[in-house]
């Protein structure tokens, strides 16, 4: 696919190939018309010669008589020294006189003179046949004068005419090729400018391109600028996230370090034990934070997103509930599942949805719920986790979706749970809504799958 390698070559090829075809057609046409013109010019000789002979035909001694004028034959031979033939036939096609028994031509119309190309004894001849009749008082005998000569003069004239038009066509072709190449180059010049502008940029900057370009390329520039703007937002997000993450990780690590230092100053093994227990729970929390950071990173990385597959929401909810059951049971929390009997099929990624449910259940138990209900709806497909905990005030609900924003400072959550769920909802074209639970208590988080309706 070399044509795709260069836009220039591709354009030039598509313009020059038809031009080549056109040139060939012109050459063929020029040759044919040169031949035609030469034939027309030389047919005059046949016409004049046959007329000169026909005028000398008379009736004498009871037969057709011809006093052949030598000039009539001489005029058939030009500078090219053609071979010359003539014959006189009567109306019954009897040969009267001549130097060759030339064939007749079948007349297609009523004109007195007909021309034809014949091969005669291995020679290509141009034949002119003149049908005429005596104009005497009593004799009105019909006769035919046939004259022919070889084609050297015609070929020579045709060739010189053709050579003339060949020169003209060659000049035209050269001009056309030059114009096409220049035009293609000029048309592609903005592309080169764009390329240079992109290449000449500081690779770290994401500032939009400001470049005067023709309409077609301006669209490309706008698209590029959109992409750059998105990349700027993504990078801002990432920078904030990295900042938040390091801040979040530094605090528990500093706490761990301080706790360990405090314990080391004491000699009481009881105190050591208490410190170790505190350290263990703090490090577990930190590990969980790290895991959540990882999964958030994974969610935000569009290149690592697997293709969605058809899955059953009921099955997913059941699996997530089963996983969380033991932990809830230990804490004395009542975890329930409400699901229709039939499967609810959507396109999605099962581990992400399970993760979302885990996060929601986990959040609920951390913030002091006593009762958690996982609910699956069929029309439209929904996943819902409701608890009877303290809930979130309406004005804070949107803020809760940002990473590291924690509702109650007292809880031991990382502040990432709802952000993760929101991320998962977006990859599934689902909408995450937070609302009050039953009777105005607690929190109800709903994932509404919009499918293609978005």
């Amino acid at each position: 696919m070399s044509a795709t390698h260069s836009l220039y070559r591709r354009l030039a090829t598509w313009l020059l190939l038809p031009l080549l075809g056109l040139g060939t057609l012109m050459l063929v046409q020029a040759y044919l018309s040169a031949r035609d013109a030469a034939d027309r010019a030389f047919d005059r000789l046949l016409e004049a010669s046959s007329l000169a002979i026909a005028e000398q035909v008379k009736w004498q001694d009871d037969q057709l008589w011809l006093d052949l004028p030598p000039a009539a034959l001489a005029m058939l031979a030009t500078d090219a020294q053609e071979r010359v033939f003539y014959a006189l036939y009567d109306d019954r096609d009897n040969f009267i006189t001549g130097n060759a028994r030339l064939p007749g031509l079948t007349a297609s119309d009523d004109t007195a003179l007909h021309y034809g190309d014949i091969r005669w004894h291995g020679m290509a001849l141009r034949l002119g046949v003149r049908a005429s009749r005596l104009e005497g008082w009593s004799q009105r005998e019909r006769f035919e004068v046939r004259v022919a000569h070889t084609r050297e003069g015609r070929d020579r004239l045709a060739l010189s005419l053709f050579a003339g038009s060949l020169g003209r066509i060659a000049i035209m072709a050269l001009l056309a090729v030059a114009v096409v190449l220049l035009a293609v180059r000029a048309a592609l010049a903005p592309l080169t400018r764009l390329r240079r502008a992109i290449r000449g940029r500081d690779p770290r900057t994401l500032a939009p391109l400001a470049l005067e370009l023709p309409r077609e390329l301006a669209e490309l520039r706008e698209t590029l600028n959109d992409l750059l703007a998105r990349m700027r937002r993504v990078r801002a997000n990432q920078e904030r996230f990295v900042g938040d993450a390091s801040h979040q990780l530094r605090t528990p690590l500093a706490g761990l370090s301080a706790r360990a230092e405090l314990a080391l100053r004491q000699d009481d093994p009881q105190a050591w034990r208490a410190a170790l227990e505190a350290i263990q729970s703090a490090s577990a929390r930190t590990a969980r934070l790290a895991v959540q950071l990882l999964s958030l990173t994974r969610l935000n990385n569009p290149e690592a997103t697997p293709a969605p597959a058809c899955l059953d929401l009921v099955e997913t909810a059941r699996s997530a509930t089963r996983h969380a059951l033991a932990a809830c049971h230990r804490r004395g929390i009542d975890l329930g599942l409400e699901a229709p009997d039939d499967a609810v099929m959507i396109d999605g990624i099962d581990w992400q949805l399970e993760e979302a449910l885990n996060n929601l259940i986990d959040n609920a138990q951390r913030y002091g719920a006593r009762r958690i209900t996982v609910r699956v709806g069929a029309l439209p497909p929904t996943l819902e986790v409701e608890d009877d905990g303290p809930g979130i005030p309406a004005e804070q609900r949107l803020l809760m979706l940002r990473p590291f924003h924690r509702g109650a400072e007292t809880g031991d959550g990382s502040g990432l749970g709802l952000a993760i769920v929101d991320g998962i909802a977006r990859t599934h074209h689902a909408r995450l809504t937070l609302a009050e639970g039953h009777g105005g208590r607690g929190l109800r988080a709903t994932l509404l799958f919009l499918g293609d309706r978005e």
Partner: protein
């Protein structure tokens, strides 16, 4: 049909090669030792005494080629060529019957010769590169010295016409020329002269008025002149006449200075020549300066080569006679000469004019212009 054609041909070209009584009709030159043994066959209508010096010179230069020359009548040259049975086929065909030679070339029987000499050959002395004129022979008037002493030298056609009309009585039966009905050469001179000027018919009438003798060959005319039977011969082939007059001091030769027909011997190589390479060498020799010099110095045939200007060359004649020379044009006009009806028409007219002169002589007051 063939017999009729042969009869017609023999009528048209019914002359033996002019003045060849007892001439050898075949010459053979074997290849010298070490030669390839290629036997070059030349069919010609050119008397052996005239061509022998040329063949010897060529053979001397090309000893590896064996030569065979057949001297034929112009008719035989033509009919043998068209006869497929002829054995051996000729490699070179050479004849003074210009229309026949032209017709063969026109019909595509000749092959082209592309040598430097052929390319340099004068335009007027060749047709394409197939047919070449190799000699330049004026048609002349020969008369006895006593005629010049009595009436003055005859140097032009106009002078001849005046002589014939003014001294009809003295010249009665003492003038000789070709019979165009018997001789192909006479016929082709007649047709050329008729084309040149309508006054030709006055001359024919004048010839008729002195009861001119009509014969078939130049040789007959020369012998009659030498014997004193005729005082003046009109339209003799110059190449034969020059040779003859040089040995007969009683005769004088004149190339007319108002117009002089010039015939040329035409040579070509047939397309089916068995030895085309040797044939090309021979024809090339005839066109070369050396060959043409041999023609001008060893024979009475005139040489054409533009570089030669000694006696007996086209250049020398041109210098003397200038525009008066009328070489018979090698072109399609020659085909008209061969036309059957044309021939009959011309001969009828010729005979009519000639008779008119005879009748006019009986009643001079009717035809003599006022």
């Amino acid at each position: 049909m063939r017999a009729a054609l042969a009869l017609f041909l023999s009528l048209l070209l019914g002359l033996a090669p002019a003045g060849t009584a007892g001439a050898q009709s075949r010459l053979d030159y074997p290849a010298r030792a070490g030669g390839t043994g290629t036997a070059l066959t030349i069919n010609g209508a050119l008397d052996t005494p005239l061509i022998a010096p040329l063949l010897e010179d060529f053979h001397h230069r090309n000893p590896d080629i064996a030569l065979r020359y057949d001297n034929l009548t112009t008719l035989a040259v033509y009919s043998d060529f068209l006869d497929d049975e002829t054995d051996p086929r000729p490699d070179v065909v050479l004849s003074s019957a210009m229309p026949w030679q032209y017709r063969l070339a026109n019909d595509g029987y000749a092959q082209p010769l592309e040598s430097p000499a052929a390319r340099a050959w004068p335009e007027w002395a060749r047709w394409r590169h197939e047919l070449f004129a190799i000699t330049f022979e004026p048609v002349v008037i020969v008369y006895r010295r006593e005629l010049a002493e009595r009436f003055g030298a005859v140097t032009s056609h106009a002078g001849l016409l005046d002589l014939l009309t003014e001294h009809r009585q003295a010249l009665e039966g003492r003038v000789v020329t070709y019979d165009p009905t018997l001789s192909g050469a006479g016929y082709s001179y007649a047709i050329e002269e008729a084309r040149l000027s309508p006054r030709y018919w006055e001359l024919v009438a004048a010839l008729g008025s002195v009861d001119t003798a009509l014969v078939g060959t130049t040789r007959e005319m020369l012998e009659g002149l030498a014997a004193g039977r005729y005082l003046l011969g009109y339209n003799l082939l110059g190449s034969y006449a020059r040779d003859f007059v040089s040995s007969h001091p009683g005769l004088e030769i004149a190339v007319p200075d108002d117009y002089a027909l010039v015939t040329q011997r035409l040579a070509f190589i047939p397309r089916d020549a068995p030895h085309p390479r040797a044939a090309r060498r021979f024809l090339d020799y005839l066109l070369s300066e050396a060959g043409q010099r041999a023609i001008s110095e060893l024979t009475t045939l005139g040489a054409i080569h533009p570089a030669l200007d000694g006696p007996g060359t086209a250049n020398a004649l041109r210098e003397r006679l200038g525009d008066a020379l009328r070489p018979i044009r090698i072109g399609p006009g020659l085909l008209a000469t061969l036309d059957r009806l044309k021939r009959e028409a011309l001969l009828a007219r010729w005979t009519r004019e000639f008779r008119r002169g005879t009748i006019g002589a009986a009643a001079p007051q009717e035809t003599t212009p006022p």
